[in-house]
């Protein structure tokens, strides 16, 4: 079975100079799409990936990453909506590049579809009541 998941990898500073993703791809036969990457000097590296491959390879790959000391989070946990601040205006809808916001035709409320989110962060400052929060 082929799986495809969006994950967030936190690299401790000691691992930043190692070819971890290269090994992950080569040895576990996984394919990847980089959604976001940043390295903060002396602190940590952050990589948001869409990782796909055979379930068994995927599981072994994740095991390898954990063993090396990389911290893994599922992407959907990273961009959250503070429900008490959202006014359901809709300013985010045309700003999001992956259409993760939709207006519900019946309730006219703005729905946030977590699975479509790639954590680019464009909605954070575009949201007038600042209801969108990034938690990396």
């Amino acid at each position: 079975m082929i799986v495809s998941k969006k994950i967030v990898l936190h690299f401790p500073s000691r691992l930043v100079d190692q070819p971890i993703i290269y090994r992950l791809i080569k040895e576990y036969d996984l394919s990847f799409n980089i959604l976001k990457a940043s390295v903060i000097p002396d602190e940590e590296g952050l990589l948001v990936l869409e990782l796909s491959g055979e379930q068994s390879n995927y599981d072994r790959g994740i095991k390898y990453l954990t063993k090396t000391g990389v911290k893994i989070q599922s992407l959907s946990q990273n961009v959250l909506r503070n429900e008490s601040r959202c006014t359901h205006c809709g300013a985010c809808i045309t700003i999001c590049p992956t259409n993760a916001f939709e207006l519900d035709k019946i309730s006219r409320q703005v729905i946030f579809i977590n699975e479509k989110c790639i954590a680019c962060g464009l909605c954070i400052k575009a949201c007038p009541p600042r209801a969108m929060e990034l938690h990396f």
Partner: protein, 403 residues
């Protein structure tokens, strides 16, 4: 005339008034026709929940011992400057006010995370806010410095006073240029990348009473989750604009000024708001009841999104240069479908006004009326009407030359 406001109030007190929201009335009229619907329904409730810049609040904080004269001095609440040109212990804070050390647009686009609108939201929420004052000292008001926590429950008066809200129609903002614009109408992507609008359409108060036949000075209404009143017509009020067959203006037209006791309002309906690259403001919830005094008034309340058109304006040139040019007219049914077509291009649309919020406000107002908690008021004076000689003027500059 079908009924008077006095008669409607008697029915409200008995719990017998028939109330529909501006959305529900559309279907009622479709099923029953106007005369039957007008006979049945006493009141139509409207609503709008949108960023409304010309908003603010004034406070009387009570006298200190020894006394301090804030008037003519300097006051900040949570580092946001308040206006002190009133009297010894009266201050006013505007929704657009920014802390002195806010970087504004020095690094464009500025974030504008906190300002007057947020201070008002925190005060309404019952949070303690930090007041820092410097005064010059007089014989009768000797004190020169004051630093204290302040809470809405402890001060004498806290009054929301918004000089211009509830715009009757507004521009649809687009961007013809090749760079992203950061405006009070939101982020506008280059080359007609998106279109932003900002009214609740068929739910919006002034679309349901387009000639201000029932809405006037003294009208009691839902303001910020509590009860408020129309204080005056709003600044930039402009009733003499083109209107369609339904009497609805096809350009920004009337505005209203609102006043109400902040102490009975709710932070859910007064939300501090940040417009990236533009500034801070306040998102305000307003709902106005419309008494169905005649068939004609009911007909106005049955307006639908498809019957209301708005002008599409380019915010890269026409708006900043104050040119009257418009690119097209579109209706709110098209805007709410998610796309409009301009110059042959399909453009995704988004709203800055919360339709879900507008419906919720109209339903709250309906509930208050059903519970007999809210009575209608007779307006004490009309606001300037269409056909009057009331016009909106740009500023004619007269350069000041040294003698």
């Amino acid at each position: 005339m079908l009924r008077t406001i006095k008669e409607i109030n008697e029915k409200i007190k008995l719990g017998k008034a028939v109330i529909a929201t501006a959305e529900e009335i559309i279907d009622i009229v479709k099923k029953k026709g106007i005369p039957q619907a007008a006979k049945k329904v006493d009141i139509v409730t409207t609503g709008t929940f949108s960023p409304m810049c010309s908003s603010g609040a004034y406070f009387n904080i009570g006298h200190t011992k020894p006394r301090i004269k804030l008037g003519g001095g300097r006051v900040c609440i949570n580092d946001v400057p308040a206006y002190t040109g009133l009297a010894a212990s009266d201050i006013f804070i505007g929704a657009n006010a920014l802390p002195d050390d806010d970087p504004r647009n020095r690094l464009h686009p500025g974030e504008f995370n906190y300002g007057g609108g947020h201070v008002i939201e925190e005060i309404v929420a019952g949070k303690d806010v930090r007041l820092v004052a410097n005064a010059y000292g007089t014989d009768c008001y000797p004190r020169k410095k004051l630093e204290t926590w302040l809470n809405i429950n402890d001060i004498n008066q806290a009054v929301l006073f918004n000089p211009r809200n509830a715009y009757q129609n507004y521009n649809v903002a687009v961007n013809l240029s090749d760079k992203t614009l950061y405006t009070y109408m939101g982020i506008l992507k280059p080359k007609l990348g998106n279109a932003n609008f900002s009214t609740a359409g068929q739910m919006s108060p002034l679309f349901n009473d387009p000639y201000y036949k029932t809405i006037g000075i003294g009208t009691r209404l839902f303001l910020g989750g509590g009860i408020g009143y129309i204080a005056w017509w709003g600044t930039q009020h402009n009733p003499n604009v083109p209107r369609n067959d339904f009497g609805v203006p096809s350009r920004p037209a009337a505005t209203l000024a609102f006043i109400g006791d902040l102490k009975q309002m709710n932070q859910k309906w007064l939300v501090g708001t940040s417009m990236i690259g533009y500034g801070v403001t306040l998102t305000v919830g307003i709902g106005i009841p419309i008494p169905i005094l005649s068939d004609e008034i009911l007909k106005f309340t049955s307006i639908t999104d498809a019957d209301i058109t708005a002008p599409v304006v380019d915010y890269s040139k026409a708006y900043p240069q104050c040119n009257p040019d418009i690119l097209a007219e579109v209706n709110y049914a098209q805007l709410k479908s998610g796309n409009i077509s301009i110059e042959g291009k399909k453009i995704p649309t988004a709203s800055l006004s919360s339709y879900a919020g507008a419906v919720s406000i109209a339903n709250s107002l309906k509930q208050w009326l059903q519970d007999g908690k809210f009575l209608l008021s007779e307006p004490v004076a009309p606001i300037p009407q269409s056909g009057s000689d009331y016009h909106l003027k740009p500023l004619t500059e007269r350069p000041i030359r040294l003698q």
